[in-house]
């Protein structure tokens, strides 16, 4: 069994428990010991006063015996062993319309007007205190007078005589079930209606909240009709209100259900609107023209029609539950079906097909209905909120992403612009150098060459200056290049010179990662050191081989430059021999170190450049 199946079963059990509790609560009555007169009564008709039955057992529906009578009087004699010391009461759990109670000939209370317009106390308990010393030892005459509408029912469920302390709790329970709970329901429905109306006001496109809020006035009117006694309205208008408000409720619930399920039936909604308005007018016309026949008409025609219309919204929820098979759809069906069933039960009762003593059940199911529909609407509302929050978040994310993308694009543009500027600048410097300084250096070198001073100190200085100039321009160009790429360019240049000098060149970059890059200035300094070491070797060493090896270590790059020439004079180095001390200064500028040693044969220079921060 699926989890939905289990939940539905649990829901069904909860529903059955709810209904059983309701019915059970109506069955709670005081012990029979407190039945006035042992429950045996004499039934006498009023207007005219005729004996209907000398021996009647309560509960009793006197109109079934004497439909022509508009009033009835139940009489009995209550035997008391002694006059009670404490406060005693007479308690009537359920009766039609209104009652007046007499003890030993004295009227001890009534539920309001006993003449038209009658006070309407149907299904409501009454509790009257018996004044002190009115009850005496022996037989006490108890009488209850009742009235009925021309075509209404007339009944008396039971009459209890006993101490206040004993009977009060039963009265309170009945009062709670048939009166207070309805007042609470009216307040709850009013508040809910206002809240839902406010929700709709805030979200006009969500018509479902409007229709839900519009079912509420109909519910309120219907409930007021059940409990209101303050207004002295002719009975016929109470009946009118009772039936018309129920029809309005069904119409509003139907339109609400259509909206709730996302169905569009504009013609049906218009028909229901017309039916509600015209039906009410037609009923009002009957009430004015022929009040005597109103009850029959209202009870039979109107309640039957209303009940029949009630099937339509229920069928909608049946279909929805069948299609969706969700817990919420099952609950909605349960609520709608419960309302219909309770309404049907009440219609049967009004038509005299069921005992009237419990009163109406419809309003209990309204609790179930508003509980279910309100919680589902709230869940739906919260779901929409969550969805919009999620959407907002996603939108935020997208905006942020776009922003980041824009920033990246801008950064790229900025960088490429920077590179373009750098390239332009480099080109300008190159042109200037080519036509100016570079050309002059080359020309001067050529002049020295022609004079046979190719190897003079001046020529060597100029050549070194030219080499340096080339490295600088290269480094301007390859600012962000890798160390390997920079050294490869240098190799190309050195290889040509080595070939001229008859020098073998060994180049080992195996231990240098492809992607390793130094800071721009450091790369230039490193290339200068290599260039200078090479120049020194060509100039001074008389070597056969010049080798360059570079390797990467955990926190630095090690470059070893080696030749197999004559080595150097340590004294010359200490006194600031030109090339070597120059190289040392360059190493220091990179934050590195330069060591050299005379090996046999030749010179070894080790340059250490730190990497990382």
């Amino acid at each position: 069994m699926s989890s939905l199946g289990w939940r539905s079963l649990l829901g069904l059990l909860a529903w059955l428990g709810f209904v059983a509790t309701l019915v059970g609560l109506h069955r709670i009555q005081p012990p029979d010991a407190w039945l006035a007169g042992g429950g045996r009564w004499t039934l006498v008709g009023l207007d005219p006063a005729v004996l209907v039955s000398p021996s009647t057992v309560l509960p009793n529906q006197w109109r079934e015996f004497a439909p022509e009578l508009r009033g009835a009087r139940y009489e009995t004699a209550a035997q008391l062993a002694s006059a009670p010391d404490e406060a005693w009461v007479i308690y009537l759990p359920s009766l039609s319309l209104n009652a007046a109670v007499y003890v030993n000939g004295e009227r001890i209370g009534d539920g309001g007007s006993m003449q038209e317009p009658l006070a309407r106390y149907s299904f409501r308990p009454l509790l009257f205190r018996v004044p002190g010393r009115l009850l005496r030892s022996g037989a006490n005459d108890i009488a209850v007078e009742l009235r009925a509408e021309p075509s209404g029912s007339g009944f008396l469920q039971q009459v209890y005589l006993g101490p206040l302390a004993q009977l009060q709790p039963y009265f309170d329970l009945r009062q709670f079930l048939n009166v207070q709970s309805i007042y609470v329901l009216i307040v709850a429905v009013l508040v809910l209606g206002l809240v839902m109306f406010a929700v709709w006001w805030g979200r006009r496109e969500e018509r479902v909240y409007l229709w839900y809020s519009l079912t509420m006035p109909a519910v309120v009117l219907h409930c007021l009709g059940l409990v209101s006694t303050g207004l002295s309205l002719p009975s016929v208008w109470w009946e009118w209100l009772h039936h018309v408000s129920r029809a309005w409720m069904i119409a509003a619930v139907t339109v609400f259900g259509l909206h709730f399920l996302g169905l569009s039936r504009p013609r049906l909604a218009a028909f229901l609107g017309g039916y509600s308005a015209l039906g009410a007018l037609a009923m009002a016309a009957v009430a004015i023209a022929s009040p005597a026949n109103f009850s029959t008409l209202a009870v039979t025609v109107c309640s039957a029609l209303t009940f029949a219309f009630g099937f339509y919204p229920v069928s909608l929820f049946v279909r929805h539950a069948w299609q969706q098979r969700t817990a919420s759809s099952v609950w909605m069906l349960t609520a709608a079906a419960s309302l219909l069933a309770a309404g049907g039960r009440d219609v049967l009762m009004e038509n005299g097909l069921l005992a009237p003593f419990d009163g109406e059940y419809f309003h209990y199911m309204i609790w179930l209905g508003i509980g279910v529909f309100t919680s589902i609407l709230i869940a739906r509302f919260l779901g929409a909120l969550r969805e919009s929050e999620t959407l907002n978040r996603e939108l935020d994310d997208r905006v942020r992403q776009k922003q980041a993308e824009l920033e990246r694009t801008y950064e790229e543009l900025r960088r490429s612009e920077q590179q373009r500027l750098l390239a332009d600048e480099r080109e300008r410097i190159q042109r200037d150098m080519h036509d100016g300084l570079g050309g002059t250096l080359v020309s001067t070198l050529a002049g020295l060459d022609l004079q046979g001073e190719r190897d003079s100190a001046a020529a060597q200085s100029l050549r070194s200056a030219l080499d340096d100039l080339r490295l600088m321009i290269y480094s301007l160009d390859q600012g962000s290049g890798t160390l390997r790429a920079a050294l490869a360019t240098l190799r190309e240049r050195i290889a040509r010179l080595a070939e001229d000098a008859g020098l073998a060149l060994e180049w080992d970059m195996q231990a240098l990662p492809e992607s390793l890059a130094l800071e721009r200035g450091a790369t230039l300094q490193l290339m200068r050191v290599v260039q200078e070491a090479f120049t020194n070797t060509v100039k001074h060493a008389g070597a056969q081989t010049f080798s360059v090896g570079a390797s990467s270590h955990e926190n630095g790059v090690r470059v070893e430059l080696r030749d197999d020439g004559a080595g150097f004079d340590p004294a010359g180095v200490e006194s600031g021999g030109y090339g070597l001390s120059n190289m040392r200064v360059r190493a220091q500028k990179m934050g590195g170190r330069l060591d050299f040693e005379s090996v046999s044969p030749g010179t070894r220079i080790v340059l250490w450049v730190p990497t990382g921060s």
Partner: protein, 126 residues
């Protein structure tokens, strides 16, 4: 048989040194020298050298303008510059020059470069 060379260079001392280097090379024969575009064009009109050693920055124009004319005559071209891979040099190579050379190259390197033009066409270019 030595390759004939036309040398175009505006700086007199550089031109002289390069001319000397070519003259000393047994594999090369200096046909003529020119100091500007006009002279160079006149020389190219007059004769057809095997190779043209061409400076790009000339006082009366861009030496690169001579490239198409030289190519039509079947002459192979080496452009000379102070710096390697400068934009003007790249433009000249794109225009059809076969190789490039630093102006301060040694005589041996110059000879190697010219002879190399014929041993493996476009060698320096690749």
């Amino acid at each position: 048989m030595a390759y004939t060379v036309l040398l175009v260079e505006d700086d007199p001392r550089t031109r002289e040194r390069l001319a000397a280097a070519i003259a000393e090379d047994p594999g090369l024969q200096l046909l003529a020298t020119a100091g500007n575009c006009a002279q160079a064009r006149a020389e190219l009109d007059a004769r057809t050298p095997d190779a043209l050693l061409l400076d790009l920055g000339l006082p009366d124009g861009d030496g690169g303008d001579l490239i198409p004319e030289a190519l039509r005559a079947g002459t192979r071209i080496i452009v000379m510059s102070v710096f390697d891979s400068c934009p003007r040099q790249r433009a000249a190579l794109a225009a059809g020059a076969h190789g490039c050379l630093l102006k301060d190259s040694s005589p041996r390197a110059i000879g190697r470069a010219v002879v190399g033009l014929f041993a493996a066409p476009n060698h320096m270019n690749s």
